[in-house]
Symmetry: C2
Subunit: 320 residues, 2 copies
């Protein structure tokens, strides 16, 4: 027992020092939920990393942007973790080989740790797993944790909720922007980037976006920046870095960072409780045979699933 | 009391007759969850509609395809419900005006009911709400319920689970197809459609897909069709209709339809129980003040959210 404890402490120390092998192993443990204690152990060592979400439609050049932005930040001696949830990201092996090779360079840097999250299979818990992995990278001493997601669905909005600053990346094509707006992406954006800014129509697109956001600036107090970048050159990257720093100062200055992080913690608590109850449910709900009989009746519309669910739930909930 | 019951019965009869005004009102009630009894009341009248999912990347022409396919099916005197969850769908007001006008024509047909689901705000429960709306349309006597989703995220995979036949629509551009595969879309496809089949490279793309799916055919026993359509002309629509009918026959013939629907019911039961427990949780979890104090401690890493969540959950769960 004591030996085991020593081993745990040792691994934790290695993690906190940023040992890449231990980071990888810890993330795997967390992803597979093989040892629920791990998150408990690392939590006290978290809270220092600044979380930056990079999201936007496929093909907006998010990974390239993350890549050059990281190279920019590394010159300040910062440690960076990158979580790629976007299935089209070269970080997660989704894009062209040329891209992937370029990204691998970054992953070899001693101060960078890159992890891609499979969106296949584990879809249900993807956002939660991403949050867990972010905790591991936070504990491992990363100054910045980037979370790159393909901005379309529920998962992205969930993940945006763990980020301190969310950068939405668009390209000068109105189709993408309409889609992004519809998907609620622009509502979660703290910084808007029009990448591939050398494409035709980019100035007009920037103007349209500025117009659309005039009202919002006044409401929140944050002087919402809309930046133009060309990640492949790269151009506009120091400005993006400065905008992220400015947003952070803004949040810290008005006490919003603490407030927002507490709200996130609260949401997390709710999720954790629901998870625990769900697994209790799976174990204790009802016998398989009893359920099959009931399903047969429901299929023939002789039994009402809404009523059945209420009955089972009431059996599980402790009366208050 | 008796009067209210009479009114409920009357409305239910109107719904079952397919009264469009009552369908609309019932859907609104269901969407807002203002009366949880409604779903209980309509459930016994469901189970007759055949659910067809139409999903694929944005710009694949899903809505146009649904439009012409419905016109094809209407000639058989069928009643059709359409649920548009795709935020870029003209059904839900997302596409160009020209499209929207064309779609409105269909919505004026006496045997067609179209409902669009907002993906904004209600994202969390979108898949579940969609299932509820499908139940309403089923009870309202629709022979077919089409559910059109933009195929990228969790919501689509969830929704595919309520469909008897899922049609994945692609266009002859490899980028889209790679993305679709990554998103797990092709795993849920029962029928694959290459729309805009007059575009360059469509034959090659069809061949690639056929090659990729050769293995799958042998595993499931269903002779997985890959069809070419040009929805705007329209071309290939009777063939698509026939493929859907063939898939239905296949499912019915081997008993799979019943089996799959029971699995869906089982999943639904789990969801319903979890919902009920979640709302119980929200009401009885913990006092706001107590939680705020705890959040403050957690923010300062003096208290562990994983342990807190476990404690609260155990307070709620009835010991078995």
């Amino acid at each position: 027992m004591r030996n085991r404890r020593c081993a745990v402490d040792k691994r934790l120390r290695q993690l906190i020092r940023g040992d890449k092998r231990v980071i990888a192993q810890t993330i795997t443990t967390v992803e597979n939920a093989t040892d629920p204690k791990v998150l408990e152990q690392i939590f006290p060592h978290t809270g220092k990393a600044y979380h930056i979400g990079i999201t936007g439609p496929p093909g907006a050049g998010k990974s390239t942007l993350v890549n050059v932005l990281c190279q920019h930040l590394l010159t300040d001696g910062k440690k960076i973790g990158i979580i790629a949830v976007d299935p089209t990201s070269p970080f997660s092996g989704g894009a062209l080989l040329g891209d992937r090779v370029r990204m691998t360079d970054l992953s070899l840097h001693k101060d960078v740790y890159i992890r891609s999250m499979g969106s296949r299979g584990s879809l249900g818990g993807l956002a939660q797993k991403t949050k867990d992995v972010a905790l591991v990278l936070d504990a491992a001493g990363m100054d910045y944790v980037f979370i790159e997601t393909i901005g379309v669905g529920q998962v992205e909005l969930d993940i945006a909720q763990v980020c301190d600053t969310t950068v939405v990346v668009l390209v000068p094509e109105s189709g993408d922007s309409i889609q992004a707006m519809k998907a609620g992406l622009l509502e979660i954006a703290d910084i808007l980037v029009v990448n591939k800014g050398d494409r035709e129509g980019s100035d007009r697109f920037m103007l349209e976006l500025k117009f659309a956001f005039e009202l919002r600036e006044q409401v929140t107090g944050w002087d919402f920046p809309i930046l133009k970048t060309i990640a492949t050159k790269p151009e506009g990257i120091p400005e993006l870095g400065a905008a992220i720093a400015a947003h952070r100062s803004y949040l810290e200055g008005c006490g919003m960072l603490e407030k927002a992080r507490k709200i996130k913690l609260k949401r997390r608590i709710h999720e954790l409780i629901e998870n625990r109850i769900s697994s209790h449910l799976r174990e204790h709900m009802i016998g398989e045979h009893e359920l099959d009989t009931m399903l047969d009746k429901m299929y023939r519309r002789k039994l009402n699933p809404f009523r059945v669910a209420a009955r089972i739930a009431d059996r599980i909930i402790r009366p208050q």
